[in-house]
Symmetry: C2
Subunit: 191 residues, 2 copies
């Protein structure tokens, strides 16, 4: 997605530890006009499936999930992150380790919001090691619902998440796939 | 807003401690079509001001802020909640106590995303004691930016937040103002 790649080149910051900061349009400030285009791109790619629900994870996934949900006219469920799992029989949960923050969160969704009949599109802002996205796939599998695809705004293709999800057979669309990043602010895309 | 009030009457749950759960359309699952209408209602009410930015707070405020931002064609900045403030000179911060969760969070926004020239609309999902919304007003004041108004999806008018914000002179629009709630599931609106 050219508009997104240009935005990344213009505004993303490369920080030590392979961190790519996109706070000015995706992770803290949200470029709503860009997010509408992101929603259209996901909706257009996945529209042939009978998607009836989008699942994402708080907080940065919500905006792209909402604009995609508006395009597809379906609701969004956002999973919550918690430090520890206080076991409840009414939630699905899976652990997700954050390599950036060096913490493991429990990712949870109330059981009533994912049904075995659901045809689900997963949307998230970033894909690096894939921990958060994998946790969402586990939760949806616990519910016996079907995952029709995964839409990612920015994939760090030099990390393993995309490889793992594609190997598991998921139809994964990343709108920007980054091949390498290096200081100062050198960003190279795949293709 | 009639559509919202009907949704509250149909789907909200009243829990002990004056808690109103709207997980099925606003706080966990998001009704994207309702959120588009919510965005239009806020945009319509505040459109005469030259708003150039919306400020909200993660996670549940993001969806309504994004649909309002799409209508007004302006970006959204979402404040982050942190357990404790690890002091950084590059952020504005203010504490906000959650009476529901009995924790005090630091609400933070990076300084670069609020400028003295900004004309800001604050959007949030809930207004009860007003702690989160007041924290956002403090952050924006620290930045010397102007707050043109505050849009709230659901105001618990039997708690003090709305009174405090109106007394402070803010133009506050709540799309549903709840006068009383009581078990089992009795919800009465203002007007």
């Amino acid at each position: 997605m050219q508009l997104l790649k240009q935005k990344i080149l213009n505004e993303a910051e490369v920080l030590p530890g392979n961190i790519l900061k996109v706070d000015s349009f995706l992770n803290h400030q949200l470029d709503t006009m860009l997010l509408v285009e992101i929603g259209k791109a996901f909706a257009n790619y996945f529209k042939q499936h009978n998607i009836n629900k989008i699942v994402t994870i708080e907080s940065s996934g919500i905006a792209a999930a909402v604009t995609t949900g508006i395009e597809l006219k379906v609701p969004v469920v956002f999973a919550r992150k918690q430090k520890s799992l206080t076991t409840h029989s009414d939630v699905y949960s899976a652990p997700a380790h954050s390599y950036t923050k060096q913490v493991t969160n429990e990712v949870i969704v109330k059981k009533q919001f994912i049904l075995p009949t659901d045809q689900i599109l997963i949307i998230d802002d970033f894909l690096a090691q894939g921990e958060a996205t994998m946790a969402l796939t586990k939760i949806i599998q616990q519910a016996d619902a079907n995952i029709v695809g995964i839409g990612i705004v920015i994939e760090k293709a030099f990390q393993d998440g995309g490889k793992k999800l594609r190997a598991a057979g998921y139809d994964l669309l990343s709108l920007a796939r980054i091949k390498t990043i290096s200081s100062p602010n050198q960003i190279i895309f795949e293709d």
